[in-house]
Structure formats: C-alpha cells, structure tokens
C-alpha cells in the first residue's frame, strides 16, 4: 500500500513573510500518477520536496500508506526522486549511478548487477552502462535519472520537472515513455511540472496549485470541462480559454449588446459582475446575419488540421485577443469581421470577485 496523504502540511521558509505552502490537504491513491501543476512559485516543488523529505514540514502531517513520515529523514521514506537537472553523480559511470542506492543499502553485488541490468534494458541504456554522465546526451541522462529511481523499486516516485531540460521533440517522446513506464510499474508517482500539456497528457489526476493553495484536484478532462474557478479555467487549455467580463441582468449575461447563452444554474446564481469563459473550439461562426459577438480578425494560424483565429472585439469587457478555433481553412482572412456565438453547455460562468464557478 503506497497511497499518500497530506494533512494540512505546511512549509514556511525561515525568514519568509508568508508560508510557501500554508497547508495542503491532498490524497493520492495507490499506483496513481498525480501531477502537481501551476505557475512558478506556486508551491508545487515545495510540496513535492516535503514529501521527499528534502524540506522540513513545519506543521501538519504526511502519510505514506499508514506510516507517518512527517519527521522521517529522506532515506527512511522509501521514495526515489528524479531531479530537474538529473543530479547524476558526475564521477560515476552510468552503472554506478544506478547502483549507488543499492550499494548504500548493502544489496549483494550479484543482485545489484542484475537489477541495474534490468533497468538499463527497460530504458535502452545497456550500451552506455560504462559511460560517465557527461558523455551522454540530455535524453540519455534523463533516462539514467529514471533508471536510478527504478532500480530501487521504491514505494513512491517523485519527479520534479524531469523534462524541462529536454528539447521539444525529446520532451514529447519522453513524456509518453515515462507515462507508460509508470503504468507498467504501477508505482505511485507524484510529478511536478509547470507545463499544463504535460499535466493533461500524463496525469491520472492533476492537482492545480496557485500561491501555495490547491485550486482543483481532478482528472485532466474534468479540469478541462469543469474548471472550479477562474484560475484553473485560465491555466488549463492551450490556447487559453476566452475569459470575458459580463454583467448579469435578469438571469442573462451581457457583454455589450451580446447576450451570452448560459445554463439554468448560472441563470439562478449569477448577479452583478460575472466572468464568462468560452474555449476557442466552443465558438460557432454565425451566418452573415450579424448575430453574436463581432470580432475583427488580426491573425490566422493555419495548423493544418484546424486553424486558430485571433481577433479583437470592440465590445467592452472582452479580452484584448479573442481566440476562435475553426475546422475549415482558407475561408477567413486577416481584416475580416466575423460573428461568433456558442451554446449554454459550453459556457463557464464565474463570479468575477470570488472567482468561483457558478455554472453546473
């Protein structure tokens, strides 16, 4: 059993005015791939390092299974970590890097060799075992760092932005490699990243953090379809969700003259200032009749499969750029004025002041 439970775990750096993580409550299931995602400084790395034992927990508790590990030193937690810069021992060969933890644990040489060989095979590192880290490419080093974690067969993997030093192509490939490896091994994994695409593609569940607080913990699609607040709505999805300022009048959300269709729950709950979110692909072009939100096209990005239209709307409350995804190409050009609208089930309504979700 290697579920993980944070109970109001707090980290307050000595001398700081406020805690980096005021108190996090999070449950991670056995075998789950949990991604912590958020902008830099949101406390995701601190949270991970508290779990690893590299940061002291000032208040609250952390459990692995039934074990309270809050005060245990890292070596007694049975956790392996993959670092952003890989943290390979530069003076050791790949083999020695992977075997180091086993050597410390006094695993017999025969067994040690066996486990390193297995991990190396799994990661395609067999022919590099005698090399030093500096003679390896970035991708290979990353895999050695993974291998070093795997050979220990720990209860938990901690990964701190392990892909951020790879080039774009390598990152996409390694992303799937890691996700597959994790599901094969079934080891509970906590993975920190600032890249929401990584979070969406890799995580069984994703915990979105901002300024030290959990914003929402959900499956990737649920985060996408049902963001709990404005922060999550703006953070998850690329390109970003269009967030527009509207005024609630008699159960209707108005942006200038455009009446945004909203669902019954929002109709009931909203009042005063609300923020209306529509994903780029949720817009529908209206026929030339002039219904909907008028947008002057400033840029068309043809990606082949689909196109993103970037435009401005003179209507008060709209963001500086409105993004619309369309599936056909070549029909809309820079300078055109288009009208877009959407359906109630695609509209996310938030209270502007509290940022809370109002729609169902």
């Amino acid at each position: 059993m290697a579920s993980i439970r944070f109970e109001k775990a707090q980290r307050w750096y000595p001398g700081a005015d406020a805690p980096a993580v005021p108190g996090i409550d999070l449950e991670i299931r056995d075998g789950e791939f949990m991604v912590l995602v958020g902008p830099s400084g949101c406390g995701k790395s601190t949270t991970l390092r508290m779990l690893a034992g590299l940061e002291a927990v000032n208040e609250g508790k952390i459990f692995i299974g039934d074990r309270d590990i809050t005060a245990l030193p890292p070596k007694d937690r049975d956790i392996a970590m993959v670092f952003q810069n890989y943290a390979l021992y530069p003076h050791m060969s790949v083999e020695d890097n992977m075997a180091f933890a086993l050597k410390i644990a006094k695993v017999p040489a025969q067994q040690r060799k066996q486990r390193v060989r297995e991990a190396a095979e799994m990661l395609g590192l067999t022919e590099y075992l005698q090399r030093k880290p500096k003679a390896l490419s970035g991708g290979q080093r990353q895999r050695v760092a993974m291998g070093r974690a795997i050979v220990r067969s720990p209860q938990v993997f901690c990964m701190d932005e392990p892909l951020s030093n790879l080039d774009a192509k390598m990152r996409v490939q390694t992303r799937t490699d890691i996700a597959k490896l994790q599901s094969d091994l079934g080891t509970t994994t906590v993975y920190v990243t600032h890249d929401q695409v990584e979070a969406m593609t890799m995580g069984d569940r994703v915990a979105v953090m901002n300024v030290g607080e959990l914003q929402q913990v959900d499956t990737p699609l649920r985060l996408y379809d049902h963001p709990d607040n404005l922060f999550v709505a703006g953070f998850i999805g690329s390109p970003q969700m269009n967030l527009m300022k509207a005024v609630a009048v008699d159960g209707k959300a108005k942006i200038g003259d455009y009446l945004v269709p909203v669902d019954p729950a929002s109709q009931r709950k909203m009042s005063g200032k609300v923020t209306v979110g529509v994903r780029p692909e949720a817009w529908r072009l209206t026929s030339d009749g002039g219904e909907g939100l008028p947008i002057t096209v400033t840029l068309v990005e043809d990606l082949g499969a689909d196109s993103f239209i970037y435009g401005t709307s003179e209507v008060e409350g709209t963001p500086s750029t409105v993004i619309v995804r369309v599936s056909e190409r070549g029909r809309i050009h820079k300078g055109d004025v288009i009208h877009v609208t959407t359906d109630p089930r695609n509209v996310h309504v938030f209270d502007t002041n509290s940022g809370e979700r109002l729609s169902d």
Binding site: A52, G53, L54, P73, P74, K75, I79, A80, M81, F83, Q84, N85, A87, L88, Y89, P90, H91, M92, F100, A101, I104, A105, K134, R148, R152
Partner: protein, 327 residues
C-alpha cells in the same frame, strides 16, 4: 626617502616605456617583411623578449647551478660527484636535513588539505555572516609574510630560564599551572620542534587551502547531494562518496601547490632555530652552505636535489591539469 620613491617611479615608467618601444619596433620590423612572412614571423618576434628574459633569468642560472654542483666550493675546478657524495655520506644531512624535509612533505600538505577541507565544510554550515567572519580570521595569516609568522610564533614558543617570567604563550600557560618551562624548540624528541615549526607554515597556508576548497565545495551541485540523500546515504557517506570525488581536482591542486611550497621552506626554520636542534631542512641547509661554509658547490648540489624532487610533482600536476582540461 622622497628621492628614492622618485627614482623608483622613474624606473617603473622607463621600464614600461622601453618595453612598449621594444614591442613597437618589433612590430614595425615584422610589418616590413614581405607577404606571408609577416604572419609567420610575427608571433615569434613578439615572444622573443619574454623568451630571452626567461633564458637569462631562469634557464641560464639553472644550467649554471647544475654545472656548479659538479665544481668545488668556489666553482673553479671540476670535482665530479664529490659534492653529492659528501652530502649523502654525511649522516647529519641524510638523517637530519633530508629526513626532516621528508617529514615536512609528508605532514604539512596533508594537514593543510584536511584542515582546509574541514574548515570549508564546517563554515558552509554557518550563517552567511558567521561564515564570512570565520573565513576571514582563518585567511588572515596568509597576509603575514612567513618571516613575520615565524617571528610571531617564535614568541609563542619562547622559553625563559626557570624562575623568570615566561613571555612565551605556551610556557606562560604552563606557569599558570605551576609547571616549569619547556624549551620547545630545543626538544627534538619525536621531532617535536620540527612539528612545532610545521605548525607555523600550516597556520599560514591553511587559509589558501580553505579558500580554494571552500569554492570547490560550494561548486558541488546541491541536487547531487539531495539525490544522495534520497538514495539513502548518510551525511558521512555523502561527503566521502559524492563531495570528495567531485572536488578531487581542487584537492590535488592544493596538495601539489602546498608541497612545492614546503619543499622550498626556508624562512620559518631560519628565523626560529636556524636548523639547530635537528630541525634543518633543505632550504636552510642551502643557505648555511653559502653563508657559513662559503661552499657554492654543495649549495648548488642541494638545489639540484630540490629540483629533482620537484620535477615529478610538477610533471604530475601538469598531466593532471591537462586531463582536467580535456575532460
């Protein structure tokens, strides 16, 4: 005084001016060479003055010393290996001077590295202000000339006749406990006095060792330490198996540099005991041969022995340096 300062100033100015003029003329000559020759000859022309200076001030004296080591005390007649033979046949040279020098080489560099490493590691755990203060204090002796250090420590080791006031720190402390004075620097049992003299050099050198090693320790990536911690290593294992191997290059550099300094040690011994009471070392013996015995042949032979001892160390350092460069 003012006149002397003026003369010094003029000399420096004239020296720099002359050097500039020399290079200017050499450059002019190079530019007058036809076509491709300019580029081919110019580098050699420009290094010529430095090369000549090295020949005149370094290579020529070295060769001369080597030659003189095979001549008599006034460098007149060839005597073959007689100087070396008499040195190595003298038990006071072999069992005294040579053995003491060996002791210095065995002890001082190792202690400097270990202490420097200890201070560097411990200071790293202090508050930034505490670290700065501690390092400054330990580095301070570096600013004192070795002659000065020797004089200071000579006072610390001073011994007055029993019954009179002890001005030496060590004997002063003993007198507090009503213990009679010990003539520290006369006591060669277990080479105590030599060790006490080594303390002086260590006191002066440990700052150098600490500064280099401290920079190296700080240069060890923190995440490798954290990785080792995650891998289950204890702090001691981390130090021995992760930190030390990563600063190995600096340790060797410090070790070699201190060793070279130790091999040449002279002032500490000269100021304190002048090699008496079985504290003699090569550097001091060299000077004794010149100043007391007027024996330039024997003095040259000692220098050649020192050089011979230095060559393997230098060779190792250069080789190590190249390996680091290539890595």
């Amino acid at each position: 005084m003012l006149v002397k300062a003026l003369i010094a100033l003029v000399t420096v100015a004239a020296g720099i001016g002359a050097a500039l003029l020399l290079y200017y003329i050499l450059n002019l000559i190079a530019e007058r060479l036809p076509g491709g020759w300019e580029d081919r000859i110019k580098p050699y022309l420009l290094i010529l003055p430095a090369f000549l200076a090295i020949v005149v001030y370094l290579i020529y004296p070295t060769v001369l010393t080597f030659i003189n080591s095979f001549k008599d005390n006034f460098s007149r007649n060839w005597v073959g290996f007689a100087n070396y033979r008499s040195l190595f046949e003298s038990s006071s040279f072999v069992k005294g001077t040579l053995f003491n020098t060996l002791l210095w080489i065995l002890i001082v560099p190792a202690v400097c590295v270990i202490l420097g490493l200890l201070v560097a590691t411990l200071a790293d755990r202090l508050s930034p202000q505490g670290e700065k203060t501690a390092k400054t204090i330990i580095f301070l002796p570096m600013a004192v000339a070795l002659v000065g250090s020797a004089v200071i420590w000579h006072f610390i080791y001073d011994s007055e006749p029993a019954g009179s006031t002890q001005i030496g720190l060590l004997n002063g402390i003993r007198s507090i406990f009503h213990q009679g004075p010990v003539a520290w620097l006369n006591t060669s049992t277990f080479h105590l006095n030599s060790v006490l003299l080594m303390v002086i050099l260590i006191w002066g050198q440990v700052g150098f060792s600490m500064v280099l090693l401290s920079a190296a320790v700080k240069g060890v990536p923190t995440d490798t330490l954290e990785a080792a911690r995650m891998d289950g290593a204890s702090e001691r294992q981390i130090f021995a198996r992760v930190v030390i191997p990563q600063i190995r290059g600096t340790i060797i550099t410090v070790f070699v540099t201190v060793t070279i300094g130790v091999l040449k040690v002279f002032d500490v011994v000269y100021v304190t005991t002048d090699g008496n009471f079985n504290t003699d070392v090569l550097g001091n013996q060299f000077w004794t041969q010149i100043s007391t015995f007027f024996n330039y042949g024997a003095a040259s032979a000692i220098v050649v022995i020192m050089m011979a001892a230095l060559i393997p160390i230098m060779w190792y350092q250069v080789r190590h340096f190249r390996a680091e460069e290539a890595a």
